[in-house]
Structures are given as structure tokens and as C-alpha cells.
């Protein structure tokens, strides 16, 4: 006689585990849903038809009513009221709402304090690289308030050639709390130079480079940073055992998140 009970046990265990996992997932979802419910503390909360100040206010949520947060878009948060109306509320007005447990919630956009605590930033700079128009994008990571690292990709488009570059920089910010905070940078990378096809007897070449630089950055508002910098590049061309010196000036905007 075949014992059915014995071989059934492992799948049974599996099913139990699966059920447990599913029920856990459901409770997690339920928790997430309850997490996104808030209670209005202000006398009223205005709901706009769209995520912008120009969109008309079509509904007002009264004090002590609970609303469900659905999604965010820039400075606006989409809500659903208890009676199923959906609309957009401004982030600053949401500041005066409480979680069902009575805890205060934080909705405000980025502040100078967040800027000091930033980790990642992305930036876009334009300028001049040895007489050629320069476009740079970079991604930076802040280790400590005084030390950060960046990876940048640039293209310098000149009358006689195009240079495509990648650099890794280390930045030192000796006075990170200053309104206009200076920084010093040191880095290395590579440059690929492609002369114009209309020029004869010129070949593409790739060379290693190193640079030092100095700059200044300032926190503007929300998540924006302005920065301007000067870098001195040395391109190890290997032609006639000489190096090429190139000055770079650029300025642009960055945002942190």
C-alpha cells in the first residue's frame, strides 16, 4: 500500500509557505495602503483639477477628514477623498496633515538642509575648452560634506576637431556651509580627438589626460545648484615628447536627489 501522507508533506509545506508568503504580501499591501492615508488638520485643503497652480479648485476637504495619497508630480500630490473624489493638492498645504497615528508628516520640498545632506547629484555644464564649445554632463557622489567624486562625459566641438572626453574627478569642498562654497578638483581621464574631414593629413587619436581645477558652487533653491569652474588640462599626446596644455572654463546647473 502506498503511503500518501508521507510524500504529500513537502508540497504541503510548500503550499503553506506560499500561503504564508501571500498573506504576508497582502498585509504588506494593506499596510502600505493605510500608510498613505492622512488626516487634514488645516481648516480646509484645496483640491485642484491638475498638478499646477493654474488649474481650478473643484473641491475642498474639511478638517479631520481623511484622504488617501495616490501619487506625486513635482510639487503636487494627487489625493482621493473618502467619497472618491480625486484631485491635486499643493505640497506645502499637505504639511499640515497627520498620519492616522497622529504622527506629523513631512511633505516640503528640498531645503538647504537637504542640500547639505545630499548624496547624488546630476549636472549639465557648458563652456569653452581651448577655444571649442564644450558640453558636459556629470554624475557626482558626496562621501562627506568636504569630499565628493564625479564622473563626467564631455564633448568639445571646435572648428578643426571634435574632442570627446571622459573624466573622473575628486573634489574637495573646504567650506561646505558657505553660501558660495569654493572647491578644488583633481582628476584624470581620456580624450579622443577627431579632426574635421575637410582637414587633410590629420588622424584620430586617443590620449590620457590629467587636470587640476578650482570652482565655486552655490545652492539656489529646491534641488538646484549653480556651479562655475576653471580647469587646467594636460593632454599626454606623446607627439615629440610634448604635452598639450588646455584651459577649460565652464558653468552650469546641477540638481541633487
Amino acid at each position: 500500500m502506498i503511503n500518501l501522507a508521507e510524500p504529500c508533506r513537502p508540497p504541503g509545506n510548500f503550499v503553506t509557505r506560499l500561503l504564508l508568503l501571500l498573506s504576508c504580501a497582502f498585509t504588506c499591501v494593506a499596510q502600505a495602503a493605510s500608510e498613505n492615508r492622512v488626516i487634514v488638520v488645516d481648516p480646509y485643503l484645496e483640491l485642484h483639477t491638475g498638478p499646477g497652480r493654474g488649474y481650478p479648485i473643484f473641491h475642498v476637504v474639511e478638517r479631520n477628514e481623511s484622504v488617501t495619497l495616490l501619487r506625486g508630480k513635482t510639487d503636487w500630490i494627487k489625493l482621493r477623498t473618502a467619497d472618491g473624489k480625486e484631485g491635486w493638492a499643493y505640497r506645502d498645504q499637505m504639511e499640515r496633515t497627520l498620519a492616522p497615528s497622529g504622527e506629523r508628516l513631512r511633505f516640503t520640498a528640498q531645503t538647504a538642509e537637504d542640500y547639505q545632506r545630499r548624496r547624488w547629484e546630476l549636472g549639465l555644464l557648458g563652456g569653452d575648452y581651448g577655444g571649442a564649445a564644450l558640453i558636459t554632463i556629470y554624475a557626482g557622489y558626496t562621501f562627506t560634506p568636504t569630499l565628493s567624486a564625479e564622473f563626467s562625459a564631455s564633448q568639445a566641438l571646435g572648428d578643426f576637431s571634435t574632442a570627446t572626453m571622459a573624466h573622473l574627478n575628486l573634489l574637495s569642498h573646504p567650506f561646505p556651509t558657505w553660501r558660495y562654497s569654493p572647491f578644488f578638483t583633481l582628476g584624470a581621464g581620456g580624450v579622443r580627438t577627431e579632426p574635421r574631414v575637410t582637414l587633410v593629413q590629420a588622424r584620430d587619436r586617443s590620449d590620457p589626460t590629467a587636470h587640476v581645477g578650482v570652482g565655486v558652487r552655490t545652492y539656489l533653491t529646491r534641488r538646484f545648484i549653480f556651479r562655475a569652474e576653471y580647469k587646467h588640462h594636460v593632454v599626454f599626446t606623446g607627439i615629440d615628447e610634448r604635452n598639450e596644455d588646455i584651459d577649460e572654463w565652464k558653468a552650469g546647473f546641477a540638481f541633487f536627489f
Partner: protein, 217 residues
């Protein structure tokens, strides 16, 4: 006499010391009472609710690009935007188009100014856009869609006829949101760059008209 005074003084001193120590005991007891009450006050933590913010916009577009001297041809591209606020957004775009023959090449017959593979124009640009005139568009009596015009401009590079050229772009567009995450985009853009194909540097204006669909996430 003198000894008696000294004893009196010592007595007073002792008495004072006892009083002070007694007082400090009372103060400590009061402290203890406060300490005993303290845990009853709950610490209120400020928490940030987890909301799915949809500030990125990714989309594909197709349209017509008129390359100066080379005719107008289909252009296809991809763009990724990040909305910084309700007014401003930054956008990176990449596009590609195949340019045709110049009038000179057509008339002369066999003469070719550039190689066939150099006729493919590839460009990228990084631009800043500003939303102007936001509003709602009405379709019938029951449906309203958010929409806005935007002005956009930036810089980038165009790879065409064997060379890469610094390119400015500027233009305007229209964004119509079907719902919270799907939008229709119509865009008119002028790509301005210098060409020296015929030996002389000249500034060319290359107009691009396109339409596309974008997704917010």
C-alpha cells in the same frame, strides 16, 4: 566666652548644612518625580510618506527633419525629461535621420559631395524647457485633459557628413496628458549649426516637426 561663641557658630553652620542637604534632597525628589513622569510623554517622529512621484518622462517621437540643402526626410528619436517643478524641465534627446541628395548632386548626376554612410544624421541635445499657458482641453462635456505649451532650447551635437558639429536648438511644443502617466507631444524645433561642406562656413537652420508619445514614471 570665646569658646562658647565658637560652639554657637559651629552649631549654626551644622544646622545650615543639614538644611541645605535636606533641601537638595527635596529637589532631588522633585527631579525623580519629573523623571517618573517623563516616559509617559510619547516622542513624535516626523515621517515622510512614501509617495510614488512621477517626474520622469520618457518617450519616442517621429517626424520630418529638413536638413538644409539635403531635403526633408523622416526623423526618429527618443527623449527623456525630468520635471524639476511645474514650470521647468530638463530634457535629453537623441534623434536620427537619413538626408537625401543636394540639388547640386541631383543636377550633376554622378557627383557626390559625401559618402552614403555619412548621409545619416545623428544628433543629441540637452535642453531646458519652460511650461507656458497650462490649461485644460475639453472633449465634449464630460472629459477634460491637462495640457500645456512649452518653450524649449538647448545645445548639443550633430554628427553629419563625417563631422560632429556644435548645435543649438530652440523651439516650442505642446503636451496633452491623456491621464496621469500618458501624454501626447507635438514639437517644432530648429537645429542650428555651422557647415563647411562647400569650403565656406555657413550657418544652417534645420527644422524638425515631430509628434510622439511619452510616459511619466
Amino acid at each position: 566666652m570665646e569658646g562658647g561663641l565658637r560652639i554657637l557658630f559651629l552649631k549654626r553652620l551644622l544646622c545650615g548644612a543639614v538644611m541645605v542637604s535636606g533641601l537638595s534632597g527635596v529637589v532631588r525628589a522633585a527631579d525623580d518625580a519629573v523623571a517618573a513622569l517623563d516616559p509617559a510623554v510619547e516622542r513624535r517622529e516626523v515621517q515622510t510618506p512614501r509617495i510614488d512621484s512621477e517626474n520622469f518622462e520618457l518617450g519616442l517621437y517621429a517626424g520630418l527633419l529638413s536638413v538644409e540643402d539635403f531635403g526633408a526626410h523622416a526623423v526618429f528619436g527618443v527623449r527623456l525629461a525630468y520635471h524639476l517643478s511645474e514650470d521647468f524641465f530638463v530634457e535629453a534627446a537623441y534623434g536620427q535621420s537619413d538626408a537625401g541628395l543636394t540639388s547640386f548632386e541631383r543636377l550633376s548626376g554622378a557627383a557626390r559631395l559625401i559618402e552614403e554612410e555619412e548621409r545619416t544624421m545623428r544628433f543629441y541635445n540637452l535642453s531646458l524647457g519652460v511650461n507656458v499657458l497650462p490649461g485644460e482641453a475639453f472633449l465634449g462635456a464630460r472629459r477634460a485633459y491637462a495640457n500645456a505649451l512649452y518653450l524649449i532650447g538647448g545645445a548639443g551635437s550633430t554628427d553629419f557628413a563625417g563631422d560632429e558639429r556644435f548645435t543649438f536648438n530652440f523651439g516650442a511644443g505642446y503636451r496633452l496628458l491623456f491621464n496621469d502617466w500618458l501624454a501626447l507631444r507635438l514639437d517644432v524645433r530648429d537645429h542650428v549649426f555651422d557647415m563647411d561642406l562647400l569650403g565656406v562656413d555657413e550657418t544652417t537652420h534645420n527644422l524638425e516637426v515631430s509628434g510622439g508619445v511619452t510616459v511619466f514614471f
